[in-house]
């Protein structure tokens, strides 16, 4: 049986892993390549590298790190952050990325998803969406969660999948960094409309949050988190064992 995936996310800035609480107050964690190996060895099913640098030097450093990781780590790698054009896809795919996630880039130019899917295949294109409740409606936020685009999140996801996104990462700004569990209400809505794999992000604080996620919403394929793995609050091996004990299919090394 296909397993539910556990995906640590590494936000990389100037060659280091960082994680913000509610996207602010960044603190230094560790070397990305070292963390990637550690995670892979402990049973992570996939890794997401998120490039949060803005400078050209930072960008070059990021692709170096990606290349070095791909040489040492043999699980799927997804890259996001600063993906605005097909050239950006090309740049990270050449360095060992298997999938590329688009967020603000697709909001700026919605044709990007379709063009990338035609060139690299749907399986390669991941639509990443930052969602926040505004007056009771789910809205898409851009620029790392700072700007309300006014777009209806469910409409945006439906359109992205229709254009060829092969997977959707849904990050709830409302639950991100709060560590009180995933945004089940929002994820349930997404699973009703998306026929492609859905990756839940934002809110994991402990092992039970993942168990609740997979038990409550069978349509969710994977859970993504950053700081709880980086700081060792949740160990991937223990999490997988707990999943197995709760009847959730998990790949245990």
């Amino acid at each position: 049986m296909i397993t539910k995936r556990i995906i640590p996310c590494l936000d990389v800035k100037d060659g280091r892993v960082v994680k913000g609480i509610k996207f602010q107050g960044l603190g230094d964690v560790d070397s990305p390549v070292r963390l990637a190996r550690l995670y892979s060895d402990s049973g992570a099913d996939e890794l997401v590298f998120y490039d949060i640098t803005a400078s050209a030097e930072g960008r070059a450093l990021f692709t170096d790190i990606l290349t070095e990781t791909a040489r040492q780590v043999f699980i799927p790698l997804t890259v996001g952050g600063g993906i605005n054009t097909l050239d950006d896809f090309d740049r990270v795919l050449k360095c060992g990325a298997d999938k590329v996630s688009v967020n603000s880039g697709a909001i700026r130019d919605p044709r990007l998803i379709g063009e990338a899917a035609r060139k690299y295949g749907n399986q390669c294109v991941v639509l990443s969406v930052d969602v926040k409740r505004v007056n009771g409606a789910f809205r898409v936020f851009a620029k790392g969660g700072r700007e309300n685009t006014g777009l209806d999140a469910m409409e945006w996801i439906r359109r992205g999948v229709g254009d060829g996104a092969g997977e959707v990462v849904v990050n709830s700004i409302d639950t991100d960094g709060v560590k009180q569990g995933f945004d089940l209400e929002m994820l349930q809505k997404v699973c009703e409309i998306a026929k492609v794999p859905v990756i839940a992000s934002g809110g994991a604080g402990r092992t039970e949050d993942f168990i609740t996620l997979f038990r409550t919403i069978p349509g969710v394929d994977a859970g993504l988190a950053a700081s709880i793995f980086h700081f060792g609050e949740v160990k991937i091996r223990d999490l997988k064992l707990e999943m197995q004990q709760n009847g959730i299919p998990a790949r245990i090394l």
Partner: protein, 210 residues
Amino acid sequence: MTAIVDYGVGNLFSLLCSLDAIGEQAVVTPDPDELRRADRVILPGVGAFADAASRLRSQNLDLTLKDIAESRKPLMGICLGMQLLFEKSMEYGEHEGLGLLKGTVRPIEEILRESEMDPERRLKIPQMGWNALRLRKKSPLFRYIKDGDYVYFVHSYAATDCGDSILADTEYGANLTACAGRDNVFGCQFHPEKSGQVGLNILRAFCEME
């Protein structure tokens, strides 16, 4: 020395890295002579079957691969590269494959419709993620792995009617072909280069074949 067939399909960076990690020298080449000189050959690929098959033919690599298979040299197809080894594919029409393995590649959606699985499970297409291998036959490819080991799949089509060339399958609403093989010709539907240590162990077993 292992040669990887270069016919303009897919990203070979990870495959090269994984061969490097097991200490295998590899070359990526479209040159039939270089492919024939190699100790073994890997046919990679992602994308559409018809496009890949016509690329192989336009470079005369179909004939080269058939020669290599006949010469008893180890040959392994990965993902779309595996699907190309079969007789035909029903991906958007009917397209002829290399015919090195018995079987027809068909949409998973169709396979699931015919299977007896519970329609309430509503499995997604493509199958994307880690699934367990069920080893159906002894094979030198499985020398360093065991039944139940997990590998990483991304596919919307799977080989059917493989007869006794089926080596391993995986449960995804139906029994989908995961590995097939006959004599010196092998195919993996999953991505060994993305399947952690299990994947590296499969590549290692292949690279030890003479």
